[in-house]
C-alpha cells in the first residue's frame, strides 16, 4: 500500500525538485539527493516526485531499479558495505561477509530487525590497498582479519 509522504518530506522533495527541474537529464541527481535525505527512494516518494519534476513514474522506477545504488526500502541506521572487488575477494571478502552476517543474524541485502544495521556487498570502494575492506556509513575499515571482522565492526557501531 502506498502511504502519503509527510509534510516534512514533501518540503524536501519540493526543494530538490526546484533545484533540478530545469536542468535536462537530472533524474539521477534528483534520486541521489532524495536517497541522501531519506535513505531510500520508496514508491510513495516516486509518485510524488513524478508530479513535481514532470517525469512519468514508470521512467523514475525504470531508473531506480536499474542502478544498484538506489534502494526502494529504508535500510538500517548503520550501513555496512562489504567490498567484494577483486583485491578484497582474494583476501577473504566472502569470509568478512560471512562473519558480519553471523554476528548480525541477517543475510546480505537485509537489515537487522531493530533497524540498527544494514548489510550489503558493493562492487569496489577503490581502497584495494587496504583489502579486505568494509565501508561503514562512508568510513573505511581496512586490513581486516576476515574471521573476527564481524565482531569488531559491529561492536564499534552498536548503540551509536
Amino acid at each position: 500500500m502506498t502511504t502519503a509522504t509527510t509534510p516534512n518530506v514533501q518540503e524536501d522533495l519540493q526543494r530538490i525538485a526546484k533545484k533540478w527541474k530545469d536542468k535536462p537529464g537530472s533524474l539521477i541527481m534528483v534520486l541521489h539527493e532524495v536517497q541522501e535525505r531519506l535513505g531510500c527512494v520508496p514508491r510513495n516518494v516516486c509518485l510524488e516526485l513524478a508530479k513535481l519534476i514532470d517525469v512519468p513514474v514508470a521512467r523514475i522506477y525504470e531508473v531506480v531499479t536499474f542502478y544498484n545504488y538506489f534502494k526502494t526500502e529504508a535500510p538500517g541506521k548503520h550501513i555496512l558495505s562489504v567490498c567484494t572487488g577483486t583485491a578484497c575477494h582474494l583476501k577473504g571478502a566472502s569470509k568478512v561477509l560471512e562473519s558480519l552476517s553471523k554476528e548480525l543474524g541477517i543475510k546480505e541485502g537485509e537489515s537487522s530487525a531493530d533497524k540498527e544495521f544494514h548489510l550489503q556487498s558493493v562492487r569496489c570502494v577503490g581502497c584495494c590497498g587496504m583489502a579486505p575492506v568494509v565501508m561503514v556509513n562512508g568510513a573505511i575499515h581496512g586490513k581486516l582479519k576476515p574471521e573476527s571482522s564481524g565482531k569488531e565492526i559491529v561492536a564499534q557501531y552498536r548503540g551509536k
Binding site: G25, I28, M29, Y67, N68, Y69, T86, G126, C128
Partner: protein, 558 residues
C-alpha cells in the same frame, strides 16, 4: 582573473606558506584513516599540533593518495632545507608521538628525538617503492593540498591553460596532443589527439567534453586517487580539451561510491569558477567553458561511452550501437568527447613541457607513463606510476616487493573483468598496450592484481564472470545469455562436475560473445576465461570428471 594574476596568487601563497617551519602532509584519501579515531587524519594532526602549541609554525594539509596504501595511514613531514620524512603505518598513539617528538622539535629548530618505536615507522625516500617510479600524473599527490586552488597554482597549476589559451590556436593544441602520442588511459587506448581532432571537426552549436570517472574495474582506484588528490589537474585537462574542440560544456561523470572524490571535485569547480578559471572569459580571454558533476549510481556498464551518455541524460545506462560515434552524436545528440581521468591529467604536463618530452617516455606505440593500482598478494599495495615499457617484473618485484607471505607469484591479472591473466614466466614483458594484448590480456584502466600460488585461477575466472553476468545490462542476447551460460559451465567445472566437452562449449560461447555483443562489456567478458584457459588449462583439467582427475583444493569450493 588576468593571466598575470596567476603569478600574484602564487606569490601570495608562497609568502603565506613561508611563515611555517614545517608541513605535515596527511594522506587524506578515502582509505587512509587512523585506526581508533573517528576524525580524518588531517583533523587529528591539526588537533595534535594545536595541543603542542605549534599551530603557528606547523601547517597541516590534506593530500591525495601517497601511493603506499599497504603502509597507511601515512603522513609526510616537510621541513625547509631538509629531506622529507615519511611516517608510515601510523595509529593515534604514534601520530601523537610523531608530533610531540619529531614535528614540534623540528618546528622549534631543535633536534628531533624519535624513540626506537617511532623510528621504525620512518620510511626513507630511497625505498625502491618510490625510487623506481616516474611520476607525471601522480606528481602532486604527496605534497599538494588537495583542497586548495592557491596551492595548486603555486605548484605551477593553470599555466598550461594559460599557455594554450593565450599562445596556441585550438589546432596547435590538437597537434601537440597528437604528437605526444598520448592514448586513452581508460582501457581501449585510442589516440587522444585523434579523438580531439575528430570532435573538433564536427560542426555544432554546443559540444560536450566529458570526463569518464566511472571507475568500475573492481580492483582499480587510479582515478579515485587522482580525483581526490589533484582535482584541478583533471579540470585543467578538460579546459584545454574544450578549447581545442571549441566546446563550452563539460560533465564529470563520477561514481557515487567515491564520495570524497565527488566532494574534492565539487570544491575544485567552485574555486575555479570563483577565480575565473571556469565560466565566461577564462583568464581574460574570449573562451567560455563551464562544467558540472553528474553522479553514477552503481552500474559497471556505464563506463562504456554510449551507456555513460544515456546515464548523463538521466536514463538507464544501456549502450547503443555505434556508429554514430559520440564525436557526432553524444549527449543530447550533440558532438561529445569522452576522456578518462588519467588521460585528462596528462594533458597539462604535455602542454607545459611539450609533446617531445612526453613522447621520449615509453615504447614506440605506447608513450608516457601509466598508473597502476597494484594490489592482491603483493607486499607493497598501492598506486604506482611507471614509464610505459617497464617490465612487469620491475613492478611486481622491485616496486611491489614480491608477495607478502613468502609464496611464489603465480600470475598477474590486468584489465579487470575485461582483461586476462599473465603467468609469471612472461614477467619480462614490458607494459604497453601492444605487449599486453599480445599476451591475451589488455592494459585496461590500470588494475594489476598479483596472484600467488595459493590462488585458484578457476575461482578467479568464476569471480569475474559472476561480475560481468551481474553487471550485464541485458539489452543484447550474446552478453545476457552467453555470459550466464559461461558462468554455469565454469561453475560446473569448479564443482568437479565438468567434462572436456564443457571446455569446448565454453570456448564457442566466448567467440560468439566477442563477435556479437553490442558493447565492450559483452565483447570483453570472455577475456578472463580465454586467457585462463590459454595459460592455466591444467587447473581446469584438474577439476574435470574426465580430465586428469585431482581433488579440488578445499579453499576454492563453495
Amino acid at each position: 582573473m588576468k593571466p598575470e594574476e596567476l603569478e600574484t596568487k602564487a606569490a601570495a601563497e608562497r609568502e603565506k606558506q613561508a611563515k611555517f617551519v614545517a608541513t605535515i602532509a596527511c594522506c587524506a584519501s578515502a582509505g587512509c584513516q587512523l585506526p581508533g579515531t573517528l576524525t580524518t587524519t588531517t583533523d587529528f594532526f591539526k588537533q595534535k599540533v594545536k595541543e603542542a602549541g605549534a599551530a603557528d609554525k606547523v601547517r597541516v594539509v590534506p593530500t591525495g593518495c601517497m601511493g603506499l596504501c599497504s603502509k597507511g595511514p601515512i603522513a609526510r613531514v616537510q621541513t625547509a632545507g631538509q629531506p622529507d620524512q615519511l611516517f608510515v603505518e601510523l595509529n593515534a598513539d604514534l601520530g601523537g608521538k610523531m608530533v610531540a617528538d619529531y614535528v614540534k622539535p623540528v618546528a622549534e629548530k631543535a633536534a628531533p628525538k624519535p624513540d626506537a618505536e617511532l623510528a621504525k615507522h620512518i620510511l626513507p625516500a630511497s625505498d625502491p617503492f618510490f625510487a623506481k617510479q616516474t611520476k607525471v600524473v601522480l606528481k602532486n599527490m604527496e605534497t599538494l593540498n588537495a583542497e586548495s586552488l592557491d596551492d595548486y597554482i603555486l605548484a605551477g597549476g593553470y599555466q598550461a591553460v594559460r599557455k594554450a589559451l593565450t599562445r596556441m590556436t585550438p589546432e596547435q593544441v590538437v597537434a601537440e596532443i597528437k604528437a605526444s602520442g598520448l592514448r586513452g588511459r581508460g582501457g581501449a587506448g585510442f589516440s587522444t589527439g585523434l579523438k580531439w581532432e575528430l570532435t573538433a571537426k564536427v560542426k555544432g552549436d554546443v559540444k560536450y567534453v566529458i570526463c569518464n570517472a566511472d571507475e568500475g574495474d573492481p580492483g582499480a582506484f587510479m582515478d579515485r586517487g587522482v580525483l581526490e588528490g589533484d582535482p584541478h589537474a583533471v579540470l585543467e585537462g578538460m579546459i584545454i580539451g574544450a578549447y581545442a574542440m571549441n566546446s563550452t560544456n563539460g560533465i564529470l561523470y563520477i561514481r557515487a561510491e567515491y564520495p570524497l572524490a565527488v566532494e574534492r571535485v565539487e570544491r575544485a569547480i567552485r574555486a575555479a569558477k570563483a577565480a575565473g578559471l571556469l565560466g565566461k572569459g577564462i583568464l581574460g580571454t574570449a573562451f567560455n567553458f563551464d562544467c558540472e558533476v553528474r553522479l553514477g549510481a552503481g552500474a559497471f556498464v556505464c563506463g562504456e561511452e554510449t551507456a555513460l551518455i544515456a546515464s548523463c541524460e538521466g536514463k538507464r545506462g544501456t549502450p547503443r550501437p555505434r556508429p554514430p560515434y559520440p564525436a557526432t552524436k553524444g549527449v543530447w545528440d550533440k558532438p561529445t568527447c569522452i576522456n578518462n581521468v588519467e588521460t585528462l591529467a596528462n594533458i597539462a604536463p604535455i602542454i607545459t613541457r611539450g609533446a617531445e618530452w612526453f613522447a621520449a617516455m615509453g615504447t614506440e606505440k605506447s608513450k608516457g607513463t601509466k598508473v597502476f593500482a597494484l594490489t592482491g598478494k603483493v607486499k607493497n599495495n598501492g598506486l604506482v606510476e611507471v614509464p610505459m615499457g617497464t617490465p612487469i617484473k620491475t613492478i611486481v618485484y622491485d616496486i611491489g616487493g614480491g608477495t607478502a607471505n613468502g609464496r611464489k607469484v603465480k600470475a598477474i591479472q590486468t584489465g579487470g573483468p575485461s582483461g586476462g591473466m599473465i603467468p609469471a614466466q612472461y614477467f619480462d614483458t614490458p607494459v604497453s598496450y601492444e605487449h599486453l594484448q599480445q599476451l591475451g590480456s589488455i592494459m585496461g584502466s590500470g588494475g594489476m592484481i598479483v596472484l600467488d600460488e595459493d590462488d585458484s585461477i578457476v575461482d578467479l575466472t568464476r569471480f569475474y564472470l559472476e561480475f560481468t553476468v551481474d553487471e550485464s545490462c541485458g539489452k543484447c542476447a550474446p552478453c545476457r545469455i552467453g555470459g550466464r551460460q559461461l558462468l554455469t559451465i565454469v561453475d560446473k567445472i569448479a564443482k568437479g562436475d565438468g567434462t572436456r566437452k564443457d571446455i569446448e562449449t565454453a570456448k564457442k560461447i566466448c567467440r560468439a560473445m566477442q563477435r556479437a555483443s553490442l558493447c565492450g562489456l559483452g565483447q570483453t567478458a570472455p577475456n578472463p576465461v580465454l586467457s585462463a584457459l590459454k595459460y592455466f588449462m591444467h587447473e581446469f583439467e584438474a577439476r574435470l570428471k574426465d580430465g586428469k582427475a585431482a581433488p579440488a583444493p578445499a579453499s576454492v569450493t563453495k
